[in-house]
Symmetry: C3
Subunit: 353 residues, 3 copies
């Protein structure tokens, strides 16, 4: 673990508490110089207990202060000041923003960027070397395009866009406000649409639709959202996609959906608000996943799943029932043997009666 305290902006504990809506137990004049996990925290660091399991470790931390919940029971021997707040995870997110505001490149268009004369670029934009902004693109204020970002023709983007190196946005994609693309993201690649000919060849179905990305969406490294065959593939406001995830043509994601790494959605599938698909989960085409549903890691479904449920397995069903099935699965060889012996015993009994 590097000593990265120097990259943080120091702040007084009292001031920090004020900005986090937290109450202080300790000296509000103490300076906080960094943020670190319990074990790594040194003098001057803020640490945090976002999970009750780690509470005992508080007694031996060297941190100057701890972000804890309102009802946190102080560990014996804990020397740290406490910042009590309603939600330590959320407060940690805010504290990191305060102590380490994300660096932003200074506005300006690099001479080695290629911005079409017909593109409209809002004020405050940074456009890095070798970025390409195609004809008739429209970027809202304060866009950051890191090197090698490519926007094809007619892409429209709201305010405060952050696109990392090598993100590619194909023609006609519409992007809302406060959207973040990590490196290598591809938006608007052709959907996987082919019609099988009688000779076995696959005729390409032109993908004439587009992609619509809502406000506050973040899509992480090398993930893909395909353009629709007709109409639009939609990622609803506030949804987040981890690395290497795949959303096929004509999918409709609601708001605040979570797609973890390597999740795959086939074409024309709908995912309701707040649903969570854990790592490597998959959904077949033309399915509906209800709002708030959770699909656990590596699970998959080719049918609809009701809102609010938790589903596991491939194919997926109720998570608790799946837990029982998988527990039994590990003993399946043994079960098989037992049944064979039972059958023998029954035959014997039948013969003997």
């Amino acid at each position: 673990m590097p000593n990265n305290a120097s990259i943080f902006l120091p702040i007084r504990l009292g001031e920090l508490a004020h900005r986090l809506d937290a109450t202080v137990e300790g000296d509000p004049e103490t300076f906080i110089h960094g943020i670190a996990p319990l074990a790594a925290a040194g003098a001057g660091d803020l640490s945090f207990i976002t999970d009750a399991r780690y509470a005992p470790a508080a007694s031996s931390t060297r941190a100057a202060a701890l972000l804890v919940g309102r009802d946190f029971a102080l560990a014996a021997g804990c020397q740290a000041a406490l910042l009590r707040c309603a939600d330590p995870s959320l407060a940690l997110a805010r504290a990191l923003s305060i102590l380490r505001p994300t660096p932003r490149p200074a506005p300006g268009i690099h001479p080695a960027a290629c911005v079409d004369a017909s593109a409209e670029i809002g004020p405050g934009a940074y456009i890095g070397p070798y970025a390409v902004v195609g004809p008739h693109c429209r970027l809202g204020p304060d866009a950051v395009l890191h090197p090698h970002v490519v926007l094809y023709e007619g892409v429209t983007v709201g305010r405060n866009f952050l696109a990392h190196a090598h993100a590619v946005v194909r023609e006609g994609t519409r992007i809302g406000d406060d959207v973040i693309l990590q490196p290598g993201v591809v938006l608007g690649g052709d959907g996987f649409g082919f019609a099988r000919q009688s000779d076995g060849r696959h005729a390409k179905i032109p993908q004439t639709g587009t992609v619509v990305i809502g406000d506050r969406v973040e899509i992480q490294a090398n993930s893909c959202v395909d353009r629709a065959t007709l109409g639009a593939t939609v990622i609803g406001a506030g949804s987040k996609m981890d690395n290497l995830a795949q959303v096929a043509h004509n999918c409709q994601l609601g708001e605040n959906v979570i797609l973890c790494a390597q999740v795959g959605l086939a074409g024309s599938t709908n995912v309701g608000d707040g649903a969570v698909l854990a790592g490597q989960a998959g959904v077949a085409g033309h399915c509906t996943i209800g709002a708030g549903a959770i699909i656990t890691a590596q699970s998959g479904t080719h049918g609809d799943l009701a809102a609010g449920g938790m589903y596991s397995g491939s194919p997926a069903f109720d998570h608790r029932q799946w837990l029982r099935s998988t527990a039994a699965f590990a003993k399946l060889g043994e079960l098989h043997r037992t049944v064979r012996e039972l059958a023998q015993a029954v035959r014997k009994l039948q013969g003997g009666c």
Copy 2:
């Protein structure tokens, strides 16, 4: 759904029917201005019924005309003209090509492209800004290299190549005619070949082979085809790969193979003509998948699979048998309990007899 009718080229119904080999039921002078799904279609739109399940919706569509099969039974109340054809999916693909021909950048090499003096570029090529064409590359007529495409040394490509932004083709790769690469594709990356030393370190096995891509292959966003250790990794003519799919060194794919999103093939595996691997399916190394075999989503095999079969599960076996097994799996906890009770009953009977 955007009103994107304006991007289509209008055409008379009679002329369209002629070009689609369809028969018209309705006024052939009607102008078609766009194409849209049943529910979204408005006046002047062509819609389509490629799946009998959606036939009832025809009665309420506002579409001007419907692409339907030869034996489609007209829904009561349907006001739309009909275009009857042998294969509505195929006809839809053609209709989209006719009403919305894919835009093609005008020929020309952008001044900010980097094309080696020894490269041979066929007539009609467009090479976008920041594209790199290495020494001794040979491109057939009418190539389109979008911004940031990189061809390493000695890549050869047939006619009508379409490579989207950030596609990378490593040295010596040979590509046929009419090949499409979506953004971020990597062809010819090193195979994952290492020899374990006695000290636990992994010595790199140089990957001295190449990649051969047949005619009419399309590879979609961020997918990878590794170069062979020796010889060539081959993607047969007409095969299609969806996003984030992986083909390892020395695999041999036949013609018209379909690899859906996030499929992975380990090294030296053969896939027969027309096989279909659904999303997130996987095949271990040195396997042979027979022609026309179907592997369903998330399934995997470390053995050979016979031609023409349909396989599911991980490890995969006959799909219908798998359906029975998975149905039973969901009740496995219960089955376990039943067997325990039976064992008890049998012991009791044994004692009693």
Copy 3:
């Protein structure tokens, strides 16, 4: 298979044997002109038997010489000279390095590269067109940055770095000696860290940590290693990642770990030295995988796995037990029926007694 003999450097068999620590059975003056698999090898080629299954094919090979193990039993009719060595796989890796040394671009910084004035570039570097090296980067001797490689601010790299086209390394990443990045790799993308607000929105947790890549690490095409929330995500020395693999924020990989294609690790997971995760395997967050453990393809775990074991299934357990369970699974429909019949028989017996 192309005739690629011309790309190899010819060498006398005796000299080759000397450099591979092998003994010759045959004429040491024979010239070796290429390397090819048994079936493809022609006159003048070296071939190899790294797997005893292929030994019978030796009798019909046209290869001039064969790399074989010390105890290889000569196939009747085999005309080839033999190079006997302790480990044919390792010797093959070396032979390929000798006969076909990886071509290296000549040192020099392309005029269309964008190297910040504050970056320190070691001697012998090649930096290709459109590569970007940010402020305060430090590159050791003999770096090769292919076109379009992007290093953000403050990246430090050891000697002999090889980064292929479109690799992206975000700010502050620290990379050791002899590291290879295949095309499209992303190091240091933001971790997938969000705190759920009471209104259902996900607040971004700033990812203020970094990534540390050990010596001799190779990461293949389009794979991703996310930066830590705090501290560092670590890939230990000698570890290798295949294509499209995912390592989340704060993971700690030991030395010589193997992650095959499309493997995914969720946040804060530890993987011990020499562990092997086969294709599409997954590990949930905060798990510990012991040294030398093997997780087979498509398997997954949300718990710790002990060192040295072999694990299969999702969720994963002991591989041998899993083999029994999966064998039984294929017959699960049948087992269900048998149990139903048994239950009936037992009820009858109970009634009859």
